[in-house]
C-alpha cells in the first residue's frame, strides 16, 4: 500500500487542531505557533501532492479506497483531479496567512476568566475548518463528501459567532447580537441546503441500488457504470437529484438570490474569518458543482444551464451594484465576492474549455486577491476601531504602505491586467461569449462596476484630507507586511505566468467537458468553410 498522502494532508491539520486546543490557557503564544506550524506542515504536504500529481496521468490520482460501512455501500474513497489538487494547494496556502493576519484577533481581554481559552479555540477551529475543506476536495465518495461538507459548518459557526469583529458602531452588546444573528443565519442557510442535498444523496443511492443491485455512493463506480450502460437515471429523477445537489452548492457559493447570508457573515466576523469564508469554504460550493453536478448529472446540468447562467449574470451585476451602495468596508467586499462567484458559476456552466479553466483559475485568483484586500482592510479596521467607510479619509498620507497594498488588492479585485484575476475573468467572459454572446456582453458590464466600487472605496478611505481619528495611524508592521507581500507577489506572478496552474487544470476540464458531451464552438470563419 502506498503512502496515504491525501489522508495525511487532512489529518495533519486535524491533529494540529486537537493539539492546539490542548495547549494550557496561559501559553497562548505557544498555541499560536503550534497552529502555524501545523498549517505550514499542511502546506508542505499540499505542495508535495501538487508535485506528485501528473497532469497527463489518470483522471483521479493519489487515490485511496477502503470499505467503511459495507451494508450501506459506504466507502472511504479519496482522490484528486487537477482542479481538486489546485484548490487544496490554495487552501493550504491561505491558512497560514489567515492565522498570521489574525494573530491578535483572539487574544483574551485582561479581565476574562482564566479557564476560557479563546486563542487556543480560534486557532484550533481554523485548523479544523482546513481539515474539513481539504477532505471535501478529496472525497470521491458522495456520502463521504456530504459528511465533510456539512461538518465544516460547525467550526465555521463558532468562528463567526464567537470571534466577531470588535469594531462595531453599535457598541459591544449590539455587536454580540449582530454576530450571533450572522452566525445563525450562516448555519441555517447552509444546513437547509445540506438537508436537501442529503435527500438527493440518498435518492442517488436508491437509484444505484435499484439498477446495479448493490447501492453505492462511489463517484468512480457510478461513472463507470454509466459509461458501461448499466446505469441510466430517468430524466425526471436525474433533474430532481441535480437540483438537490445544486441547491446546496448554490447556497454555499453563494448564488443570487441565496446570497444574503454572506454579507452578514463576512461583515460580523473578523477579517481573517471572512477570508476563510469567502476564499476557502465557499470554494467548496463551486468546486462541487464541477465535480458532482456536472459529472453525476450531465443531462440535467445541461437542462438547467439557461436558468443558472441567468442567475449567475444577475449575481455579477447585482453583487457589484450592491457593493457600490455599501457603507461598510467588509460588507462591500462581501458583495464584491457575490459578483465574483457569479463569474465562477458562469464559467462553469458556459461549458467551454475557456469558461471552465477560467472558472477554476478564478477560484484560485479570487482566493488570493480577496485575501489580500480583506486582510489589509482588517488591519485598517482594527486600527480605527470602525468599519464604516465614512470614518476614514486621507489614510495614504499617514500610512502610505497600507494604502498602497490596499490599492493593489483593489486593483486585483477589479481585474487589472498584470494581476492574476484578469486572466481568469477574461477567460470566463470569452468562454461565455463564444456560446452565449448576449450574456457575455452583459457580464462584461461588471468590469465597469468593479472599477466603481473599488475606486470609490479607495477614494473615500485613502485620499483627501486626513480625517479625525486617522492622524496617528501606524503604517503596516512587519507581521502584517509578511502577510500582504507574498500575496501580492503571487498575484503578480500568476498574472503574468498562470501556466503552472492551467497546465494542471486543463486536462481535468477536458474530462469534465467530455462527461457532459460538450465541445467548444468553432470559430465562425472556420465553421463556414
Amino acid at each position: 500500500m502506498s503512502f496515504p498522502l491525501l489522508t495525511v494532508t487532512a489529518v495533519v491539520p486535524a491533529a494540529g487542531a486537537v493539539i492546539t486546543a490542548a495547549v494550557p490557557a496561559a501559553r497562548k503564544t505557544a498555541a499560536k505557533y503550534t497552529a502555524l506550524l501545523f498549517s505550514l506542515a499542511t502546506l508542505v504536504l499540499a505542495i508535495v501532492a501538487l508535485v506528485r500529481f501528473d497532469p497527463d496521468g489518470d483522471r483521479y490520482q493519489l487515490t485511496e479506497s477502503h470499505a467503511w460501512i459495507k451494508d450501506f455501500g459506504l466507502r472511504y474513497e479519496l482522490g484528486v483531479d487537477g482542479i481538486a489538487v489546485t484548490l487544496i494547494a490554495l487552501t493550504a496556502l491561505l491558512i497560514p496567512f489567515v492565522m498570521l493576519a489574525g494573530w491578535h484577533d483572539a487574544d483574551p481581554l485582561e479581565d476574562t476568566n482564566r479557564r476560557w481559552r479563546p486563542t487556543q479555540g480560534f486557532f484550533a477551529l481554523i485548523l479544523l475548518v482546513e481539515a474539513m475543506v481539504v477532505l471535501s476536495f478529496e472525497a470521491t465518495d458522495v456520502f463521504l463528501f456530504y459528511i465533510f461538507f456539512e461538518a465544516m459548518l460547525i467550526p465555521m459557526y463558532f468562528l463567526i459567532g464567537g470571534f466577531g469583529d470588535r469594531a462595531h458602531a453599535g457598541g459591544e452588546e449590539e455587536a454580540a447580537r449582530q454576530r450571533s444573528y450572522a452566525a445563525v443565519k450562516f448555519l441555517l442557510y447552509n444546513l437547509a441546503g445540506g438537508l436537501i442535498m442529503l435527500a438527493a444523496v440518498i435518492g442517488l443511492y436508491t437509484v444505484t441500488a435499484d439498477q446495479l443491485g448493490t447501492g453505492t455512493f462511489s463517484l468512480q463506480e457510478i461513472l463507470a457504470a454509466r459509461g458501461a450502460g448499466k446505469l441510466d437515471i430517468a430524466t425526471d429523477t436525474e433533474r430532481w437529484l441535480f437540483l438537490g445537489f445544486f441547491f446546496a452548492f448554490a447556497v454555499k457559493a453563494p448564488l443570487w438570490p441565496l446570497h444574503t447570508w454572506l454579507p452578514n457573515a463576512m461583515g460580523e466576523s473578523t477579517a481573517p474569518v471572512a477570508v476563510l469564508i469567502t476564499a476557502v469554504v465557499d470554494k467548496v460550493g463551486t468546486f462541487a458543482m464541477l465535480r458532482f453536478c456536472l459529472q453525476l448529472f450531465p443531462d440535467a446540468s445541461k437542462w438547467a444551464t439557461p436558468v443558472i447562467l441567468v442567475l449567475a449574470v444577475i449575481s455579477i451585476i447585482y453583487g457589484a451594484l450592491l457593493a457600490v451602495g455599501q457603507r461598510d468596508i467588509k460588507r462591500l467586499i462581501a458583495y464584491a465576492s457575490v459578483s465574483h462567484f457569479g463569474f465562477i458559476i458562469l464559467g462553469i456552466f458556459a461549458m467551454t474549455s475557456q469558461g471552465q479553466s477560467g472558472a477554476t483559475l478564478y477560484m484560485v485568483n479570487h482566493g488570493i486577491s480577496t485575501a489580500a484586500l480583506m486582510l489589509v482592510a482588517g488591519f485598517l479596521i482594527t486600527r480605527r476601531g470602525s468599519r464604516l467607510i465614512a470614518d476614514f479619509g486621507g489614510v495614504q498620507k499617514v500610512a502610505p504602505v497600507l494604502a498602497g497594498t490596499f490599492l493593489i488588492g483593489g486593483l486585483a479585485t477589479l481585474s487589472l491586467p498584470g494581476l492574476a484575476p484578469f486572466v481568469s475573468e477574461f477567460l470566463v467572459l470569452v468562454g461565455t461569449f463564444s456560446r452565449y454572446p448576449v450574456l457575455g456582453i452583459i457580464a462584461t458590464l461588471g468590469i465597469v462596476l468593479a472599477a466603481l466600487y473599488v475606486l470609490v472605496l479607495y477614494q473615500r478611505t485613502m485620499t483627501g484630507p486626513v480625517k479625525a481619528g486617522i492622524e496617528g495611524m501606524a503604517d503596516l508592521k512587519a507581521r502584517e507586511l509578511l502577510v500582504v507581500a507574498p500575496l501580492i507577489a503571487l498575484l503578480l506572478f500568476l498574472g503574468v505566468y498562470p501556466k503552472p496552474i492551467t497546465d494542471i487544470v486543463n486536462p481535468s476540464v477536458h474530462h469534465t467537458l467530455s462527461d457532459v458531451h460538450k465541445t467548444d464552438p468553432k470559430p465562425a470563419l472556420e465553421a463556414k468553410k
Partner: protein, 634 residues
C-alpha cells in the same frame, strides 16, 4: 536585435519596480535612476530605428516571441512583440518625449517630497505604453491599454490629498473602463470569428471575413471605436480629460497630450484592415472625429484655466487624427503624422504652461496672468513657436500635418467629404482663435497678477535649465518636424508598407485647401486679437453668451452625466440595497421558514435559541437518514 525590443519595455518596468518598492533610501537618487532608464529605453529605440532604416521597406518588421501567457484549450494568448514602422514611430515618440519630460520633472517636482514615487509612476507609464504599441496581438495590447490607464490614474491623483485630484483620477479610470468594454468585446468577437486575436491572424483575414461575416467585422470596428473614444477622450467619452488636468503638468504634457490619449488613433490605424472592410464603422469613426474636433475647440475657447484650455485643444486635435484615421488609406499616414507633430508642439505648450505656473505660484487662471513675455523670455519663445505650430502657421509642423488631413477629408469625396472637410476648416479657424486667446492673455497685455491664497505676491521668473532645455528641444520639433516629414513625402513612404496609402480623388485642389486654411487662420487670429489684444482683458470673467457659459461647463456633458448616470446610479444602488435587505433576504428567509413549517421556531432561534435548533436539526437529519436506510433494508 529582437532582444532589444524586450529590453525596451523592461528598462522602464525595472525602474518602476525599483522606485516603487525601494523605500526612502532612494529618495535622493530615484529621479535620476528613473530618467536614466527612460533614456536607456530611448537609446534602445534609436538603435532599433537605425537598424530598421538599413533594411528594405518591406523587410523592416521584427518579431520577438517571449512566452505563452495564457495557455488554455483554444485560447492561446502570447507575449510577443512586433516592431514595424508604425510601432517604431510610437517608440521614438514615447521614449523621446518621455525622456524630455523626465528631465523637465526633475526641476518641476524638485520640492515635492514624493518625487521618487512620481518618477516610479512615470516609468510605469512608459513601460505600459511601450507594451501597448509593441504588442503583436490584441490581448497583450489590452494589458498595455489598461496599464497606461493605471499609470494615468495614479498620476492624475498624484496629489491625493486634494479631493479634486482624487475624484478626477477615479473619473478618468471609470470612463476609460467603459471604453475597455469595447476592447474586451472586440477581442471576444475576434476570438469567436477568427479563433485568434493576433494581428497576424486577424488582420489579413478581415477582408476575407467581411464577405461572410460582415456584421461581425462591422461590430468589431464599432467596439474598437468605443475603446478609442475612452482612451482618446472622444465624444461621448471625453468628459474625463479636462478633469485630468488635476495631475502635475509634466503628466498632462506626456500622458494627456503627447502619448496616451493618442492610443485610440494607434488602435484604429493598427486595425486598419478591419475598418477598411467595414465602411459603416468608418463612417462612425469620422463622425466621432469631426464632432470632437469641434467640441474640443469650442470648449477650449471658453476656459480661463490655461491647462483646461489646452486640454480642450488636445481633444480637438485628436479629433482631427481620429477623423483622418476613419478616412481609411487616404488618412492613416496623416493621422499618425499629425499625432507626432502634435506630440511635439502640444507637449511643448504644456511644459510652457507648467513653466508659467512654476513662476506664478501655481496660478492657472489666465485672467491673472498678462505681460509675462518680458519676465520669462525662453518660455515665451518656445510657447510661441508651439502656438504658431498648432495654428498651422506656414512652414511649421502643424501647417503640414493639419493641412494634409483637411485635404484628405475633401478627398473622401461626395457629401461626406464636403461635410468633413468643412468641419476641419472651421476647426482650424476656432483653433487659431482659442490659441491666440491663450497667447494674448498669458504673455501680452497688462499685468493682472494677484497674490495667492497665502498672500504671496507672484514674482515671475524664468524656470531652471532642466525645465527650459526640454522646452527648447520640443520647440525645435514643433518648427521643423512637419517640413522634415513632408519633404519628398518621406513620412508617407515610411508608413505606407504598414498602413497602405492612397491619394484619393479630391474635388478640391491642394492649393485651394491651403488657401482656405490660411483664410481661416487669419480670421481666427483676427477675432481673437480684436477681443483680447486690442481690448484689455477683464480680471473677472464676464457672464458671456449662452454658448460661452455652456462651453465653460464642457458643453453640459458633466451635468448630463451627473443627472443621468451619477444620480440615477445612486438611486438604483440605494433602492437595491434596501430591496436586498427587505425583499430578497425576507423572501428567502420566509420561504425557508414556511416550507419547513418552522416560522415560529425560526423566530425563537433569532432570539438566541441556537443550540436547541442545532440539536433538533441534527436529530431530524438522523431520523431522516435512519428512516431511508431502514426502508432500503426492508
Amino acid at each position: 536585435m529582437e532582444t532589444l525590443i524586450g529590453l525596451l519595455v523592461a528598462a522602464p518596468l525595472l525602474g518602476a519596480g525599483v522606485l516603487l518598492t525601494g523605500g526612502r533610501r532612494l529618495d535622493r537618487t530615484g529621479h535620476l535612476l528613473g530618467t536614466l532608464l527612460s533614456l536607456l529605453s530611448f537609446v534602445f529605440g534609436a538603435v532599433l530605428f537605425v537598424n530598421m532604416l538599413g533594411k528594405d521597406a518591406d523587410q523592416r518588421a521584427l518579431h520577438s516571441h517571449l512566452f505563452t501567457w495564457v495557455p488554455v484549450d483554444g485560447f492561446q494568448a502570447q507575449v510577443g512583440f512586433q516592431l514595424d514602422q508604425l510601432s517604431m514611430t510610437f517608440v521614438l515618440l514615447i521614449t523621446g518625449v518621455g525622456t524630455l519630460i523626465h528631465v523637465y520633472s526633475i526641476g518641476y517636482m524638485a520640492h515635492d517630497e514624493r518625487r521618487r514615487r512620481f518618477f516610479g509612476y512615470l516609468n510605469l507609464f512608459l513601460a505600459a505604453m511601450l507594451l501597448l504599441v509593441l504588442a503583436d496581438n490584441y490581448f497583450l495590447l489590452y494589458a498595455g491599454w489598461e496599464g497606461v490607464g493605471l499609470a494615468s490614474y495614479l498620476l492624475i491623483g498624484f496629489w491625493q490629498h486634494k479631493p479634486s485630484a482624487a475624484t478626477a483620477a477615479k473619473k478618468a479610470f471609470i470612463v476609460n473602463r467603459v471604453g475597455d468594454i469595447g476592447l474586451s468585446v472586440a477581442i471576444m468577437l475576434m476570438f469567436t470569428t477568427f479563433g485568434s486575436f493576433a494581428f497576424a491572424d486577424v488582420l489579413p483575414k478581415a477582408q476575407d471575413a467581411s464577405a461572410t461575416q460582415h456584421a461581425t467585422v462591422t461590430g468589431i470596428g464599432f467596439m474598437l471605436l468605443l475603446a478609442a473614444c475612452g482612451k482618446s477622450a472622444q465624444v461621448p467619452l471625453q468628459s474625463w480629460l479636462g478633469d485630468a488636468m488635476e495631475g502635475p503638468t509634466p503628466v498632462s504634457a506626456l500622458i494627456h497630450a503627447a502619448t496616451m490619449v493618442t492610443a485610440g488613433v494607434y488602435l484604429i490605424t493598427r486595425s486598419g484592415a478591419i475598418f477598411n472592410a467595414a465602411p459603416d464603422a468608418q463612417t462612425a469613426v469620422v463622425t466621432v472625429g469631426a464632432v470632437t474636433l469641434l467640441f474640443g475647440a469650442i470648449v477650449g475657447c471658453a476656459k480661463d484655466d490655461i491647462k483646461k484650455a489646452l486640454a480642450g485643444s488636445t481633444m480637438s486635435q485628436i479629433g482631427y487624427m481620429i477623423m483622418a484615421a476613419g478616412l481609411g488609406p487616404i488618412g492613416y499616414v496623416f493621422a499618425i503624422m499629425h499625432l507626432v507633430t502634435h506630440g511635439f508642439f502640444k507637449a511643448g505648450l504644456f511644459l510652457g504652461a507648467g513653466s508659467v505656473m512654476h513662476g506664478m505660484n501655481d496660478e492657472v487662471d489666465m485672467r491673472r496672468y498678462g505681460g509675462l513675455r518680458k519676465y520669462m523670455p525662453i518660455t515665451f519663445i518656445t510657447f510661441g513657436l508651439g502656438y504658431l505650430a498648432i495654428i498651422g502657421f506656414p512652414g511649421l509642423s502643424g501647417f503640414f500635418s493639419k493641412d494634409k488631413i483637411i485635404e484628405a477629408a475633401y478627398a473622401k469625396g461626395g457629401t461626406e467629404g464636403w461635410i468633413l472637410g468643412s468641419a476641419a476648416l472651421l476647426g482650424a479657424a476656432i483653433t487659431a482663435f482659442y490659441m491666440t486667446r491663450v497667447m494674448l492673455m498669458t504673455f501680452f497685455g497688462e499685468k493682472r497678477w494677484q497674490p495667492d491664497a497665502e498672500g504671496h505676491e507672484p514674482h515671475p521668473h524664468e524656470s531652471p535649465s532642466s525645465m527650459t532645455i526640454p522646452m527648447i528641444i520640443l520647440a525645435f520639433g514643433s518648427v521643423f518636424a512637419g517640413a522634415l516629414f513632408s519633404l519628398n513625402s518621406r513620412f508617407v513612404h515610411w508608413l505606407e508598407p504598414v498602413t497602405g496609402h492612397s491619394e484619393g480623388d479630391s474635388p478640391v485642389s491642394a492649393g485651394t485647401v491651403t488657401a482656405a486654411t490660411m483664410v481661416c487662420l487669419v480670421i481666427g487670429v483676427g477675432i481673437a486679437w480684436l477681443m483680447y489684444g486690442r481690448r484689455s482683458v477683464p480680471a473677472v470673467a464676464p457672464r458671456g453668451s449662452l454658448l460661452t457659459r455652456a462651453a465653460r461647463r464642457d458643453l453640459l456633458q458633466d451635468d448630463f452625466n451627473h443627472v443621468v448616470l451619477v444620480r440615477g446610479g445612486e438611486h438604483l444602488t440605494r433602492t437595491l440595497v434596501y430591496l436586498d435587505h427587505s425583499l430578497v433576504d425576507g423572501v428567502v428567509n420566509g420561504t425557508a421558514a414556511s416550507v419547513g413549517g418552522l416560522s415560529g421556531r425560526l423566530r425563537k432561534l433569532q432570539n438566541g435559541y441556537v443550540r436547541s435548533y442545532a440539536v433538533s436539526m441534527l436529530g431530524g437529519t438522523a431520523v431522516l437518514v435512519a428512516a431511508t436506510l431502514l426502508m432500503r433494508a426492508v
